[in-house]
Symmetry: D2
Subunit: 179 residues, 4 copies
């Protein structure tokens, strides 16, 4: 087996393991969100105690690994993501990268803190088609401040080829404002 095949086999196994444990697709009840740190939220999703987000179902991607300041998403480029030019739409790259960089930020937040994405810049460096069976978007926090956090991400194939990269700015705020 070549190294690319090894990687692909590992990625498929990661996805199967995540899918086997996780729960329904749906919305997280807001009161549950506020009581959890970012990492606790992702753990609850991985454990099937909280639902997986609908956008992942719609666009065929999912989180496969989250730790403090670092998040990895995996997606399957498909026909359903094509633009009129016969390649994967830039919005699909942006969606996976946005997920990766935003969750990298979220993973650093304690319970009681929330965030929102202010901006995302995506650089697309190579066209993508369904001949690439799987891709990964990996996000890493660059700056984690009290009010603002930034992160960068890369989207690459099982052979390590880079398809896109991104950077984001997130606003961090108190999830439960004082009454």
């Amino acid at each position: 087996m070549t190294s690319v095949d090894d990687t692909l086999a590992r990625w498929r196994a990661d996805e199967a393991r995540v899918r086997a444990r996780r729960g329904e697709v749906g919305a997280v009840p807001p009161h549950e969100l506020a009581g959890l740190s970012g990492l606790e939220l992702f753990e609850a999703m991985f454990d099937g105690r909280l639902p997986a987000p609908p956008i992942g179902e719609t666009l065929d991607f999912l989180a496969v690994h989250v730790e403090h300041g670092h998040a990895v998403f995996q997606g399957r480029p498909g026909h359903a993501h094509y633009n009129p030019l016969g390649t994967v739409h830039g919005g699909w790259f942006a969606t996976l990268l946005d997920s990766a960089v935003a969750c990298a930020v979220h993973s650093t937040l304690p319970a009681g803190k929330a965030y929102t994405t202010l901006e995302l810049k995506t650089n697309i460096v190579r066209a993508l088609t369904d001949r690439v069976p799987l891709v990964r978007a990996e996000g890493r926090v660059v700056h984690a401040g009290n009010q603002v956090a930034t992160a960068e991400g890369r989207l690459f194939g099982p052979d390590g080829k880079l398809y896109a990269h991104a950077s984001t700015t997130c606003l961090v705020f108190d999830a439960r404002p004082p009454r």
Copy 2:
């Protein structure tokens, strides 16, 4: 009827008219692409002579108007686009805005010229849920050069409220390299 209702009624009528005329969803054969100017391609899609792009079907949005240097897309924010936080995923904003700014650029290209998106920055200024029935993403070319074009876009609701804006850089090149 309030002005917002007027706008919404007009947007729904625009969508119905576009859907009534257009063809199947699918890929445009590459040899057809090369022979058409950007505007001719969009006209062929609006007329049903060429298929509509799959990504629009997957994410519930479509082009409703394209003219030279200007493109308007319309989408229905839905549950299927939600992130874990219970709002529309940033990637959905990016997808509509990318379509709008890229097609604004494409609409300026003569037959024999092609483009690819190099980068897109999306600013998200307000959360979006399915309580907003429809949104529009409008793109306008800022600079149309021989090798590079840039464009800006806005995503807003029927009441004129802004949800996001974006800017893009596209590479312009010869569609048919000399042999």
Copy 3:
């Protein structure tokens, strides 16, 4: 006189008028800053009651007009701004555009509110040399929120030619935290 000459003559007159009234170059005392709205600060600078910022002196540009949500800066491209390639360095474009978009945001803030720039994206669409006698950078607010504001800007010559454009995200906060 051609229209370009007209514009240039007007731009030079604007600059002369601003320079005639304004004060020394230096730093605004922090306690003065906190008590002024954005527009009051710019008026105090235009009136010579507060000093002009050092960066303008260093890079040969200045504010020529500020109103609510809109700011205009003017600069003289010169040899001192050149990169090794013999054109104006991208950083000079970024400095003028940053000033224009940030001051457009600042101009919307009441006394007691402050802002900081989180990010700026500059698109450069045309090289600039000292053969262009003057350029203007014009900034306009796109979104003015309680915590976040965004703005866009254009840098153009007296003939209307576009050299660069930009968009920014600013964080808005209370200038005087409660003690």
Copy 4:
């Protein structure tokens, strides 16, 4: 000596060594540019055979190290770079980062190839004053293609504190078009 003092001493020594060898400040004759690879150009500047760029003199920064795909600039934050708020203007951050990422790209180009910066996004994560004696901007190529290259950069102090980061898109083209 603390580690910060060590770093600062090393940075000062690097600057002294570069200043001792380099030549006048001025423009590189265009015909010289075309015959050199990116790395040859930087070596000629470091050796004093070609002039140093004017912008560095104007804004008190210089290249201290360039290798394939990697460039390091060093600057001294000063009063001359201040905005009205009493901190270093965002344009100074952008100038150093633009230099770092653009030269990282340039360093990968063979003779006969040229580049131009299409866009730069700068994230500012911390205010900077002249209490920080020196900062470095480090740029690294992310994607080096035939027509397009991208790079990322960081600006940090001698204690490793991050002040800003950036990403850029550059267009790569033939320096001498066929006649």
